[in-house]
Protein backbone atom coordinates (compact mmCIF):
# COMPACT_ATOMS: atom_id res chain seq x y z
CA UNK A 1 0.00 0.00 0.00
CA UNK A 2 2.66 2.42 1.13
CA UNK A 3 4.98 1.28 -1.63
CA UNK A 4 2.24 1.56 -4.23
CA UNK A 5 1.49 5.09 -3.13
CA UNK A 6 5.08 6.24 -3.24
CA UNK A 7 5.54 4.60 -6.63
CA UNK A 8 2.49 6.41 -7.94
CA UNK A 9 3.80 9.62 -6.40
CA UNK A 10 7.18 9.21 -8.07
CA UNK A 11 5.72 8.34 -11.43
CA UNK A 12 3.65 11.50 -11.52
CA UNK A 13 6.53 13.83 -10.87
CA UNK A 14 8.08 15.54 -13.90
CA UNK A 15 11.47 14.59 -12.49
CA UNK A 16 11.03 10.89 -13.19
CA UNK A 17 10.39 11.43 -16.91
CA UNK A 18 13.57 13.47 -17.15
CA UNK A 19 15.50 10.78 -15.26
CA UNK A 20 14.56 8.40 -18.06
CA UNK A 21 15.67 11.05 -20.57
CA UNK A 22 18.98 11.40 -18.75
CA UNK A 23 19.41 7.63 -18.88
CA UNK A 24 18.65 7.66 -22.62
CA UNK A 25 21.21 10.44 -23.12
CA UNK A 26 23.85 8.48 -21.26
CA UNK A 27 23.00 5.38 -23.32
CA UNK A 28 23.22 7.35 -26.58
CA UNK A 29 26.57 8.71 -25.50
CA UNK A 30 27.79 5.20 -24.72
CA UNK A 31 26.71 3.47 -27.93
CA UNK A 32 26.80 6.46 -30.35
CA UNK A 33 29.77 5.25 -32.42
CA UNK A 34 27.92 2.00 -33.20
CA UNK A 35 24.45 3.41 -33.91
CA UNK A 36 25.54 6.48 -35.90
CA UNK A 37 24.58 5.90 -39.56
CA UNK A 38 27.78 7.56 -40.87
CA UNK A 39 31.34 8.08 -39.73
CA UNK A 40 31.16 11.47 -37.92
CA UNK A 41 34.52 12.49 -39.41
CA UNK A 42 33.98 11.25 -42.99
CA UNK A 43 33.74 14.13 -45.44
CA UNK A 44 31.86 14.07 -48.75
CA UNK A 45 32.34 17.34 -50.59
CA UNK A 46 29.80 16.36 -53.24
CA UNK A 47 27.13 16.31 -50.54
CA UNK A 48 28.16 19.53 -48.72
CA UNK A 49 25.58 21.71 -46.94
CA UNK A 50 22.62 19.48 -47.80
CA UNK A 51 19.39 20.34 -45.97
CA UNK A 52 17.82 17.63 -43.81
CA UNK A 53 16.55 14.72 -45.89
CA UNK A 54 15.77 11.01 -45.60
CA UNK A 55 19.44 10.21 -46.28
CA UNK A 56 20.88 12.82 -43.90
CA UNK A 57 18.30 13.40 -41.15
CA UNK A 58 19.95 16.56 -39.81
CA UNK A 59 21.55 17.57 -43.14
CA UNK A 60 25.29 17.89 -43.78
CA UNK A 61 27.90 20.52 -42.95
CA UNK A 62 30.31 22.49 -45.15
CA UNK A 63 32.47 19.46 -45.95
CA UNK A 64 29.59 17.00 -46.26
CA UNK A 65 29.81 15.33 -42.85
CA UNK A 66 26.54 13.81 -41.65
CA UNK A 67 25.23 16.07 -38.86
CA UNK A 68 22.97 13.45 -37.31
CA UNK A 69 25.94 11.15 -36.72
CA UNK A 70 28.00 14.05 -35.40
CA UNK A 71 25.29 15.19 -32.98
CA UNK A 72 24.96 11.61 -31.67
CA UNK A 73 28.67 11.04 -31.21
CA UNK A 74 29.12 14.49 -29.64
CA UNK A 75 26.87 13.44 -26.74
CA UNK A 76 29.75 11.28 -25.59
CA UNK A 77 32.31 14.07 -25.24
CA UNK A 78 29.88 16.68 -23.88
CA UNK A 79 28.51 14.36 -21.21
CA UNK A 80 31.97 13.02 -20.28
CA UNK A 81 33.33 16.53 -19.77
CA UNK A 82 30.38 17.48 -17.59
CA UNK A 83 30.44 14.26 -15.55
CA UNK A 84 34.20 14.47 -15.00
CA UNK A 85 34.01 18.14 -13.99
CA UNK A 86 31.09 17.61 -11.62
CA UNK A 87 32.72 14.53 -10.07
CA UNK A 88 35.95 16.41 -9.52
CA UNK A 89 34.31 19.44 -7.93
CA UNK A 90 32.11 17.13 -5.83
CA UNK A 91 35.07 15.24 -4.39
CA UNK A 92 37.29 18.28 -3.78
CA UNK A 93 34.47 20.57 -2.66
CA UNK A 94 32.79 18.07 -0.35
CA UNK A 95 36.09 17.12 1.30
CA UNK A 96 37.19 20.74 1.76
CA UNK A 97 33.77 21.79 3.01
CA UNK A 98 33.46 18.90 5.46
CA UNK A 99 36.94 19.52 6.87
CA UNK A 100 36.20 23.23 7.07
CA UNK A 101 32.97 22.68 8.98
CA UNK A 102 34.34 19.98 11.26
CA UNK A 103 37.65 21.54 12.28
CA UNK A 104 36.75 25.23 12.15
CA UNK A 105 39.52 27.62 13.17
CA UNK A 106 42.15 28.86 10.75
CA UNK A 107 41.57 25.99 8.28
CA UNK A 108 37.93 27.04 8.01
CA UNK A 109 39.04 30.64 7.52
CA UNK A 110 41.55 29.73 4.82
CA UNK A 111 39.12 27.54 2.87
CA UNK A 112 36.44 30.20 3.19
CA UNK A 113 38.84 32.78 1.79
CA UNK A 114 39.62 30.63 -1.24
CA UNK A 115 35.93 30.00 -2.03
CA UNK A 116 35.12 33.70 -1.59
CA UNK A 117 37.88 34.56 -4.03
CA UNK A 118 36.56 32.13 -6.65
CA UNK A 119 33.05 33.52 -6.19
CA UNK A 120 34.38 37.07 -6.69
CA UNK A 121 34.90 36.34 -10.39
CA UNK A 122 32.17 36.10 -13.00
CA UNK A 123 32.50 32.31 -13.21
CA UNK A 124 32.60 31.85 -16.97
CA UNK A 125 35.27 34.55 -17.19
CA UNK A 126 37.36 32.80 -14.55
CA UNK A 127 37.04 29.55 -16.51
CA UNK A 128 38.32 31.38 -19.61
CA UNK A 129 41.27 32.73 -17.62
CA UNK A 130 42.15 29.29 -16.26
CA UNK A 131 42.05 27.65 -19.69
CA UNK A 132 44.14 30.50 -21.09
CA UNK A 133 46.76 30.14 -18.38
CA UNK A 134 46.85 26.35 -18.11
CA UNK A 135 46.69 25.60 -21.83
CA UNK A 136 44.02 25.11 -24.42
CA UNK A 137 43.06 21.44 -23.91
CA UNK A 138 39.95 19.42 -23.12
CA UNK A 139 41.45 18.37 -19.77
CA UNK A 140 41.85 22.00 -18.79
CA UNK A 141 38.21 22.69 -19.71
CA UNK A 142 37.29 19.97 -17.21
CA UNK A 143 39.55 21.45 -14.52
CA UNK A 144 38.26 24.99 -15.14
CA UNK A 145 34.63 23.86 -14.98
CA UNK A 146 35.40 21.93 -11.78
CA UNK A 147 37.14 24.89 -10.11
CA UNK A 148 34.27 27.30 -10.69
CA UNK A 149 31.80 24.79 -9.22
CA UNK A 150 33.81 23.87 -6.12
CA UNK A 151 32.51 26.71 -3.89
CA UNK A 152 28.92 25.41 -4.13
CA UNK A 153 29.92 22.02 -2.70
CA UNK A 154 32.15 23.58 -0.07
CA UNK A 155 29.27 25.68 1.18
CA UNK A 156 26.74 22.85 1.26
CA UNK A 157 29.13 20.35 2.89
CA UNK A 158 30.38 22.88 5.44
CA UNK A 159 26.87 23.95 6.48
CA UNK A 160 25.62 20.37 6.78
CA UNK A 161 28.64 19.20 8.79
CA UNK A 162 28.53 22.26 11.02
CA UNK A 163 25.00 21.58 12.26
CA UNK A 164 25.84 17.92 12.99
CA UNK A 165 29.31 18.43 14.46
CA UNK A 166 28.03 18.28 18.05
CA UNK A 167 25.24 15.78 17.40
CA UNK A 168 25.00 12.88 19.89
CA UNK A 169 25.92 10.27 17.27
CA UNK A 170 29.12 12.17 16.48
CA UNK A 171 30.02 12.42 20.16
CA UNK A 172 29.34 8.72 20.47
CA UNK A 173 31.63 7.95 17.55
CA UNK A 174 34.35 10.12 19.03
CA UNK A 175 34.01 8.50 22.47
CA UNK A 176 34.29 5.09 20.84
CA UNK A 177 37.82 6.12 19.88
CA UNK A 178 37.41 7.20 16.26
CA UNK A 179 39.86 9.84 15.05
CA UNK A 180 38.66 12.99 13.22
CA UNK A 181 39.24 11.46 9.77
CA UNK A 182 37.18 8.36 10.60
CA UNK A 183 34.37 10.39 12.18
CA UNK A 184 34.22 12.62 9.10
CA UNK A 185 34.40 9.87 6.50
CA UNK A 186 32.26 7.14 8.06
CA UNK A 187 29.90 8.90 10.47
CA UNK A 188 29.34 12.44 9.22
CA UNK A 189 29.72 12.11 5.47
CA UNK A 190 26.95 9.49 4.95
CA UNK A 191 24.59 11.86 6.75
CA UNK A 192 25.39 14.87 4.56
CA UNK A 193 25.66 13.04 1.24
CA UNK A 194 22.04 13.53 0.10
CA UNK A 195 22.08 17.34 -0.30
CA UNK A 196 25.48 17.07 -1.99
CA UNK A 197 24.17 14.55 -4.51
CA UNK A 198 21.20 16.82 -5.21
CA UNK A 199 23.63 19.68 -5.73
CA UNK A 200 25.66 17.57 -8.13
CA UNK A 201 22.63 16.72 -10.26
CA UNK A 202 21.53 20.37 -10.31
CA UNK A 203 25.09 21.23 -11.35
CA UNK A 204 25.25 18.94 -14.37
CA UNK A 205 23.24 21.21 -16.67
CA UNK A 206 25.38 24.18 -15.74
CA UNK A 207 28.57 22.18 -16.31
CA UNK A 208 27.38 21.19 -19.80
CA UNK A 209 26.52 24.83 -20.62
CA UNK A 210 29.84 26.07 -19.32
CA UNK A 211 31.92 23.52 -21.24
CA UNK A 212 29.92 24.09 -24.44
CA UNK A 213 30.36 27.84 -24.01
CA UNK A 214 34.12 27.45 -23.71
CA UNK A 215 34.31 25.29 -26.82
CA UNK A 216 31.97 27.70 -28.65
CA UNK A 217 34.56 30.46 -28.27
CA UNK A 218 37.23 28.09 -29.57
CA UNK A 219 38.74 26.67 -26.39
CA UNK A 220 39.61 23.07 -25.67
CA UNK A 221 37.93 20.91 -28.26
CA UNK A 222 39.64 21.01 -31.67
CA UNK A 223 37.84 20.58 -34.96
CA UNK A 224 36.89 18.19 -36.46
CA UNK A 225 36.09 16.48 -33.13
CA UNK A 226 32.29 16.37 -32.83
CA UNK A 227 31.16 18.45 -29.85
CA UNK A 228 27.92 20.43 -29.61
CA UNK A 229 29.41 23.83 -28.70
CA UNK A 230 31.97 23.83 -31.49
CA UNK A 231 29.37 22.54 -33.98
CA UNK A 232 27.09 25.47 -33.17
CA UNK A 233 30.09 27.76 -33.62
CA UNK A 234 30.74 26.19 -37.05
CA UNK A 235 27.10 26.72 -37.98
CA UNK A 236 27.17 30.37 -36.88
CA UNK A 237 29.14 31.14 -40.05
CA UNK A 238 26.04 30.26 -42.10
CA UNK A 239 23.66 32.62 -40.33
CA UNK A 240 24.05 35.11 -43.20
CA UNK A 241 23.33 32.56 -45.93
CA UNK A 242 20.61 30.72 -44.01
CA UNK A 243 21.83 27.10 -43.70
CA UNK A 244 20.01 26.82 -40.39
CA UNK A 245 20.41 23.06 -39.89
CA UNK A 246 24.14 23.31 -39.33
CA UNK A 247 23.69 25.14 -35.99
CA UNK A 248 20.10 24.26 -35.07
CA UNK A 249 20.46 20.53 -34.38
CA UNK A 250 23.58 20.63 -32.20
CA UNK A 251 22.01 23.58 -30.36
CA UNK A 252 18.80 21.63 -29.78
CA UNK A 253 20.77 18.62 -28.52
CA UNK A 254 22.65 20.87 -26.11
CA UNK A 255 19.46 22.53 -24.86
CA UNK A 256 17.69 19.18 -24.50
CA UNK A 257 20.52 17.68 -22.47
CA UNK A 258 20.71 20.70 -20.14
CA UNK A 259 16.93 20.73 -19.74
CA UNK A 260 16.83 17.02 -18.92
CA UNK A 261 19.53 17.33 -16.26
CA UNK A 262 17.96 20.46 -14.76
CA UNK A 263 14.50 18.91 -14.45
CA UNK A 264 15.97 15.67 -13.11
CA UNK A 265 17.94 17.68 -10.54
CA UNK A 266 14.82 19.61 -9.48
CA UNK A 267 12.93 16.34 -9.16
CA UNK A 268 15.69 14.80 -7.09
CA UNK A 269 15.75 17.82 -4.80
CA UNK A 270 11.99 17.66 -4.28
CA UNK A 271 12.29 13.95 -3.52
CA UNK A 272 15.02 14.38 -0.89
CA UNK A 273 13.83 17.68 0.48
CA UNK A 274 10.06 18.08 -0.01
CA UNK A 275 9.93 21.15 2.21
CA UNK A 276 12.02 23.30 -0.05
CA UNK A 277 9.84 22.61 -3.08
CA UNK A 278 9.01 25.86 -4.85
Amino acid sequence: MEVARSLRYMRLRPGSGSLILVAVLALVGAVAPWIAPYDPLATDVAAALQPPSVIHWFGTDAVGRDLFSRVLVAARLDLSIAVAAVALSFVVGAAAGAISGYLGGWIDGAIGRVTDTIMAFPLFVLAMGIVAAAGNTVANIIYATAVINIPTYVRVARAEVLVRREAPFVHAARLAGNGPARVLAFHLFPNVAAPLIVQASLNMGYAILNAAGLSFIGLGVRPPTPEWGIMVADGAAYIISGEWWVWLFPGLALTGAVLAFNIAGDGLRDFFDPQRRS
Partner: protein, 336 residues
Protein backbone atom coordinates in the same frame (compact mmCIF):
# COMPACT_ATOMS: atom_id res chain seq x y z
CA UNK B 1 24.29 52.31 8.71
CA UNK B 2 27.62 54.05 8.15
CA UNK B 3 29.62 51.38 9.95
CA UNK B 4 27.87 48.64 7.96
CA UNK B 5 28.80 50.35 4.70
CA UNK B 6 32.39 50.81 5.90
CA UNK B 7 32.57 47.09 6.71
CA UNK B 8 31.31 46.23 3.21
CA UNK B 9 33.93 48.52 1.69
CA UNK B 10 36.70 46.86 3.69
CA UNK B 11 35.39 43.42 2.66
CA UNK B 12 35.40 44.43 -1.01
CA UNK B 13 38.98 45.66 -0.74
CA UNK B 14 40.06 42.34 0.80
CA UNK B 15 38.40 40.47 -2.08
CA UNK B 16 40.14 42.73 -4.64
CA UNK B 17 43.44 41.83 -2.97
CA UNK B 18 42.83 38.09 -3.28
CA UNK B 19 41.61 38.51 -6.86
CA UNK B 20 44.92 40.23 -7.69
CA UNK B 21 46.79 37.28 -6.17
CA UNK B 22 44.79 34.89 -8.39
CA UNK B 23 45.38 36.87 -11.58
CA UNK B 24 49.08 37.03 -10.70
CA UNK B 25 49.18 33.25 -10.28
CA UNK B 26 47.39 32.88 -13.62
CA UNK B 27 50.10 34.97 -15.33
CA UNK B 28 52.80 32.73 -13.83
CA UNK B 29 51.02 29.56 -14.95
CA UNK B 30 51.36 30.41 -18.64
CA UNK B 31 51.70 27.22 -20.69
CA UNK B 32 55.07 28.24 -22.08
CA UNK B 33 57.97 30.01 -20.39
CA UNK B 34 56.80 33.63 -20.38
CA UNK B 35 60.30 34.85 -21.20
CA UNK B 36 60.52 32.69 -24.33
CA UNK B 37 57.00 33.76 -25.19
CA UNK B 38 57.52 37.51 -24.79
CA UNK B 39 60.88 37.41 -26.56
CA UNK B 40 58.90 36.41 -29.61
CA UNK B 41 59.42 33.76 -32.25
CA UNK B 42 63.07 33.28 -33.05
CA UNK B 43 64.22 35.00 -29.86
CA UNK B 44 67.91 34.32 -29.23
CA UNK B 45 69.24 32.96 -25.94
CA UNK B 46 70.44 36.45 -25.03
CA UNK B 47 67.08 38.00 -25.89
CA UNK B 48 65.33 35.42 -23.72
CA UNK B 49 67.70 36.08 -20.84
CA UNK B 50 67.20 39.82 -21.22
CA UNK B 51 63.44 39.34 -21.29
CA UNK B 52 63.66 37.15 -18.20
CA UNK B 53 65.47 39.95 -16.37
CA UNK B 54 63.06 42.53 -17.71
CA UNK B 55 60.02 40.52 -16.57
CA UNK B 56 61.70 39.94 -13.24
CA UNK B 57 61.45 36.18 -13.65
CA UNK B 58 64.94 35.67 -12.18
CA UNK B 59 63.63 36.96 -8.84
CA UNK B 60 61.64 35.05 -6.23
CA UNK B 61 57.89 34.73 -6.50
CA UNK B 62 57.26 37.36 -3.82
CA UNK B 63 59.43 39.95 -5.59
CA UNK B 64 57.68 39.13 -8.84
CA UNK B 65 54.35 39.68 -7.14
CA UNK B 66 55.43 43.09 -5.85
CA UNK B 67 56.59 44.05 -9.33
CA UNK B 68 53.22 42.92 -10.70
CA UNK B 69 51.32 44.97 -8.11
CA UNK B 70 53.48 48.03 -8.78
CA UNK B 71 52.73 47.74 -12.49
CA UNK B 72 49.01 47.36 -11.78
CA UNK B 73 49.09 50.47 -9.61
CA UNK B 74 50.10 52.56 -12.62
CA UNK B 75 47.64 50.79 -14.90
CA UNK B 76 50.23 48.68 -16.69
CA UNK B 77 48.59 45.44 -17.82
CA UNK B 78 51.18 44.67 -20.46
CA UNK B 79 50.99 44.95 -24.24
CA UNK B 80 48.75 43.13 -26.65
CA UNK B 81 50.78 41.34 -29.28
CA UNK B 82 47.85 41.33 -31.73
CA UNK B 83 46.85 45.01 -31.56
CA UNK B 84 50.24 46.40 -30.50
CA UNK B 85 48.59 48.70 -27.96
CA UNK B 86 48.85 48.68 -24.18
CA UNK B 87 46.15 46.36 -22.88
CA UNK B 88 44.72 49.04 -20.60
CA UNK B 89 44.07 51.34 -23.59
CA UNK B 90 42.39 48.58 -25.59
CA UNK B 91 40.18 47.66 -22.64
CA UNK B 92 39.26 51.27 -21.94
CA UNK B 93 38.30 51.82 -25.57
CA UNK B 94 36.17 48.70 -25.77
CA UNK B 95 34.60 48.68 -22.31
CA UNK B 96 31.71 51.07 -23.13
CA UNK B 97 30.50 48.70 -25.88
CA UNK B 98 30.29 45.82 -23.40
CA UNK B 99 28.72 47.91 -20.67
CA UNK B 100 26.12 49.37 -23.04
CA UNK B 101 25.15 45.83 -24.04
CA UNK B 102 25.12 44.38 -20.51
CA UNK B 103 23.27 47.28 -18.92
CA UNK B 104 20.63 47.37 -21.67
CA UNK B 105 20.15 43.63 -21.25
CA UNK B 106 19.83 43.89 -17.47
CA UNK B 107 17.30 46.72 -17.83
CA UNK B 108 15.32 44.76 -20.42
CA UNK B 109 15.40 41.62 -18.28
CA UNK B 110 14.15 43.56 -15.25
CA UNK B 111 11.34 45.15 -17.25
CA UNK B 112 10.18 41.68 -18.35
CA UNK B 113 11.15 39.58 -15.33
CA UNK B 114 9.97 41.64 -12.36
CA UNK B 115 6.35 42.19 -13.56
CA UNK B 116 6.17 38.56 -14.67
CA UNK B 117 7.32 37.40 -11.22
CA UNK B 118 4.88 39.74 -9.46
CA UNK B 119 1.96 38.58 -11.61
CA UNK B 120 2.89 34.93 -11.05
CA UNK B 121 2.91 35.51 -7.27
CA UNK B 122 -0.38 37.42 -7.29
CA UNK B 123 -2.12 34.61 -9.17
CA UNK B 124 -0.28 31.50 -7.97
CA UNK B 125 -1.08 28.30 -9.86
CA UNK B 126 -2.91 30.25 -12.57
CA UNK B 127 -2.10 29.58 -16.22
CA UNK B 128 0.16 32.59 -16.16
CA UNK B 129 2.11 31.24 -13.18
CA UNK B 130 2.58 27.94 -14.98
CA UNK B 131 3.65 29.74 -18.13
CA UNK B 132 6.25 31.73 -16.17
CA UNK B 133 7.53 28.52 -14.57
CA UNK B 134 7.83 26.71 -17.91
CA UNK B 135 9.51 29.69 -19.57
CA UNK B 136 11.92 30.03 -16.64
CA UNK B 137 12.85 26.35 -16.83
CA UNK B 138 13.51 26.58 -20.56
CA UNK B 139 15.18 29.97 -20.24
CA UNK B 140 18.04 28.71 -18.08
CA UNK B 141 18.59 25.64 -20.30
CA UNK B 142 19.09 27.37 -23.67
CA UNK B 143 22.72 28.39 -24.24
CA UNK B 144 22.97 32.14 -24.85
CA UNK B 145 24.83 31.71 -28.12
CA UNK B 146 22.07 29.41 -29.38
CA UNK B 147 19.35 31.94 -28.43
CA UNK B 148 21.31 34.57 -30.34
CA UNK B 149 21.51 32.42 -33.48
CA UNK B 150 17.79 31.59 -33.36
CA UNK B 151 16.84 35.26 -32.98
CA UNK B 152 19.22 36.20 -35.78
CA UNK B 153 17.78 33.56 -38.10
CA UNK B 154 14.21 34.76 -37.53
CA UNK B 155 14.71 38.53 -37.37
CA UNK B 156 17.64 38.94 -39.75
CA UNK B 157 17.47 36.09 -42.25
CA UNK B 158 13.73 35.34 -42.41
CA UNK B 159 12.08 38.66 -41.66
CA UNK B 160 14.89 41.07 -42.53
CA UNK B 161 13.96 43.37 -39.65
CA UNK B 162 17.32 43.30 -37.90
CA UNK B 163 20.62 44.52 -39.38
CA UNK B 164 23.52 42.12 -40.05
CA UNK B 165 25.30 41.00 -36.87
CA UNK B 166 28.40 43.07 -37.52
CA UNK B 167 28.88 45.27 -34.50
CA UNK B 168 27.54 48.47 -33.04
CA UNK B 169 26.96 50.42 -36.27
CA UNK B 170 27.20 49.56 -39.95
CA UNK B 171 30.70 49.91 -41.37
CA UNK B 172 29.80 53.02 -43.33
CA UNK B 173 28.24 54.87 -40.43
CA UNK B 174 30.21 57.37 -38.38
CA UNK B 175 30.01 56.83 -34.63
CA UNK B 176 28.79 59.79 -32.57
CA UNK B 177 31.43 62.01 -30.93
CA UNK B 178 32.59 60.21 -27.79
CA UNK B 179 31.35 61.52 -24.49
CA UNK B 180 30.30 58.46 -22.52
CA UNK B 181 31.21 55.84 -25.12
CA UNK B 182 27.58 54.63 -25.07
CA UNK B 183 26.36 55.15 -28.64
CA UNK B 184 22.75 55.53 -27.54
CA UNK B 185 23.60 58.35 -25.14
CA UNK B 186 26.31 60.01 -27.25
CA UNK B 187 24.09 60.18 -30.34
CA UNK B 188 21.40 61.89 -28.27
CA UNK B 189 23.96 64.39 -26.95
CA UNK B 190 24.91 65.13 -30.53
CA UNK B 191 21.22 65.42 -31.44
CA UNK B 192 21.80 62.80 -34.13
CA UNK B 193 18.56 60.83 -34.26
CA UNK B 194 19.38 58.67 -37.32
CA UNK B 195 22.57 57.42 -35.60
CA UNK B 196 20.57 56.79 -32.44
CA UNK B 197 18.07 54.69 -34.40
CA UNK B 198 20.86 52.81 -36.17
CA UNK B 199 22.69 52.08 -32.91
CA UNK B 200 19.44 50.98 -31.30
CA UNK B 201 18.63 48.58 -34.13
CA UNK B 202 22.11 47.05 -33.85
CA UNK B 203 21.80 46.73 -30.08
CA UNK B 204 18.27 45.30 -30.00
CA UNK B 205 18.98 41.64 -30.81
CA UNK B 206 22.15 41.13 -28.74
CA UNK B 207 20.54 42.88 -25.77
CA UNK B 208 17.41 40.74 -26.13
CA UNK B 209 19.55 37.59 -26.34
CA UNK B 210 21.33 38.42 -23.10
CA UNK B 211 18.11 39.57 -21.45
CA UNK B 212 16.27 36.32 -22.21
CA UNK B 213 18.98 34.49 -20.31
CA UNK B 214 18.55 36.76 -17.28
CA UNK B 215 14.75 36.90 -17.21
CA UNK B 216 14.30 33.41 -15.77
CA UNK B 217 16.22 33.80 -12.48
CA UNK B 218 14.80 37.30 -12.00
CA UNK B 219 11.19 36.16 -12.47
CA UNK B 220 11.75 33.17 -10.18
CA UNK B 221 13.30 35.23 -7.39
CA UNK B 222 10.62 37.94 -7.66
CA UNK B 223 7.86 35.34 -7.52
CA UNK B 224 9.31 33.60 -4.48
CA UNK B 225 9.95 36.87 -2.61
CA UNK B 226 6.50 38.25 -3.43
CA UNK B 227 4.74 35.03 -2.37
CA UNK B 228 6.46 35.20 0.99
CA UNK B 229 5.66 38.88 1.54
CA UNK B 230 2.04 38.54 0.38
CA UNK B 231 1.50 35.82 2.99
CA UNK B 232 2.89 37.98 5.81
CA UNK B 233 0.94 39.57 8.66
CA UNK B 234 1.48 43.17 7.65
CA UNK B 235 0.01 42.57 4.20
CA UNK B 236 -3.00 40.90 5.81
CA UNK B 237 -3.37 43.92 8.08
CA UNK B 238 -3.07 46.31 5.16
CA UNK B 239 -5.80 44.35 3.38
CA UNK B 240 -8.01 44.48 6.44
CA UNK B 241 -7.72 48.27 6.84
CA UNK B 242 -8.37 48.24 3.76
CA UNK B 243 -5.70 49.98 1.75
CA UNK B 244 -5.94 50.11 -2.04
CA UNK B 245 -4.94 46.94 -3.85
CA UNK B 246 -2.30 48.68 -5.98
CA UNK B 247 -0.80 50.42 -2.96
CA UNK B 248 -0.54 47.16 -1.00
CA UNK B 249 1.00 45.35 -3.94
CA UNK B 250 3.52 47.86 -5.21
CA UNK B 251 4.40 49.93 -2.14
CA UNK B 252 4.14 47.55 0.82
CA UNK B 253 4.64 44.13 -0.71
CA UNK B 254 7.09 44.89 -3.51
CA UNK B 255 9.06 47.30 -1.33
CA UNK B 256 9.75 44.46 1.07
CA UNK B 257 10.35 41.87 -1.64
CA UNK B 258 12.97 44.15 -3.18
CA UNK B 259 15.86 42.98 -0.99
CA UNK B 260 16.08 39.36 -2.24
CA UNK B 261 15.42 40.62 -5.77
CA UNK B 262 18.37 43.03 -5.52
CA UNK B 263 20.58 40.17 -4.36
CA UNK B 264 19.45 38.09 -7.34
CA UNK B 265 20.25 40.97 -9.69
CA UNK B 266 23.82 40.82 -8.40
CA UNK B 267 24.00 37.09 -9.17
CA UNK B 268 22.42 37.61 -12.59
CA UNK B 269 25.03 40.23 -13.36
CA UNK B 270 27.75 37.63 -12.87
CA UNK B 271 26.02 35.38 -15.41
CA UNK B 272 25.58 38.33 -17.77
CA UNK B 273 29.26 39.28 -17.66
CA UNK B 274 30.12 35.70 -18.65
CA UNK B 275 27.36 35.34 -21.24
CA UNK B 276 28.33 38.74 -22.62
CA UNK B 277 31.47 37.12 -24.06
CA UNK B 278 29.40 34.58 -26.02
CA UNK B 279 26.90 37.16 -27.28
CA UNK B 280 29.72 39.47 -28.39
CA UNK B 281 31.12 36.63 -30.46
CA UNK B 282 27.76 35.82 -32.11
CA UNK B 283 26.98 39.46 -32.97
CA UNK B 284 30.49 40.65 -33.79
CA UNK B 285 30.15 43.14 -30.94
CA UNK B 286 33.44 45.03 -30.45
CA UNK B 287 33.51 44.82 -26.65
CA UNK B 288 36.08 43.49 -24.20
CA UNK B 289 34.70 39.95 -24.48
CA UNK B 290 35.42 39.60 -28.18
CA UNK B 291 38.79 41.28 -27.55
CA UNK B 292 39.63 38.54 -25.04
CA UNK B 293 38.46 35.79 -27.39
CA UNK B 294 40.57 37.10 -30.27
CA UNK B 295 43.57 37.30 -27.97
CA UNK B 296 42.96 33.79 -26.60
CA UNK B 297 42.84 32.28 -30.06
CA UNK B 298 46.06 34.09 -30.98
CA UNK B 299 47.74 32.86 -27.75
CA UNK B 300 48.12 36.52 -26.74
CA UNK B 301 47.83 36.23 -22.98
CA UNK B 302 48.25 39.73 -21.55
CA UNK B 303 44.87 40.92 -22.88
CA UNK B 304 43.12 37.85 -21.47
CA UNK B 305 44.57 38.44 -18.04
CA UNK B 306 43.69 42.13 -18.14
CA UNK B 307 40.19 41.17 -19.19
CA UNK B 308 39.76 38.65 -16.35
CA UNK B 309 40.98 41.19 -13.80
CA UNK B 310 38.76 43.95 -15.17
CA UNK B 311 35.69 41.69 -15.16
CA UNK B 312 36.35 40.61 -11.58
CA UNK B 313 36.75 44.21 -10.42
CA UNK B 314 33.57 45.24 -12.25
CA UNK B 315 31.71 42.41 -10.56
CA UNK B 316 33.09 43.24 -7.10
CA UNK B 317 32.13 46.89 -7.62
CA UNK B 318 28.61 45.94 -8.64
CA UNK B 319 28.22 43.67 -5.64
CA UNK B 320 29.43 46.48 -3.42
CA UNK B 321 26.85 48.85 -4.90
CA UNK B 322 24.13 46.23 -4.39
CA UNK B 323 25.23 45.55 -0.82
CA UNK B 324 25.07 49.26 -0.07
CA UNK B 325 21.71 49.55 -1.84
CA UNK B 326 20.38 46.69 0.29
CA UNK B 327 21.62 48.40 3.45
CA UNK B 328 20.04 51.69 2.39
CA UNK B 329 16.80 50.07 1.26
CA UNK B 330 16.39 47.93 4.38
CA UNK B 331 14.50 49.96 7.02
CA UNK B 332 15.92 47.72 9.78
CA UNK B 333 19.48 48.97 9.25
CA UNK B 334 18.58 52.68 9.62
CA UNK B 335 20.37 53.99 12.67
CA UNK B 336 22.37 50.78 13.08
Amino acid sequence: MGSLIARRLAGALAVVASVIVVTFLLTRALPADPAVYFAGIGGTKEAIAAMRAKLGLNHGLLTQFLVYVRALAVGDLGHSLTTGHPVIDDLARRLPASLELTISALALASVIGLPAGIAAAVWPNSWFDHLVRVMATIGVAVPTFFTGLMLLHVFYFDLGWAPAPLGRLSTFAVPPPRVTGFYLIDSLFAGDLPTFAAALSQLALPALTLALFAVAPLARATRAAMLEVLASDFVRTARAIPLGRAKILFVYAFGNALLPVLTTIGMVFSFLLGANVLVEKVFGWPGIGSYAIDALIAADYAPVQGFVLLMAILYILLNLVIDIAVIVADPRTVGA
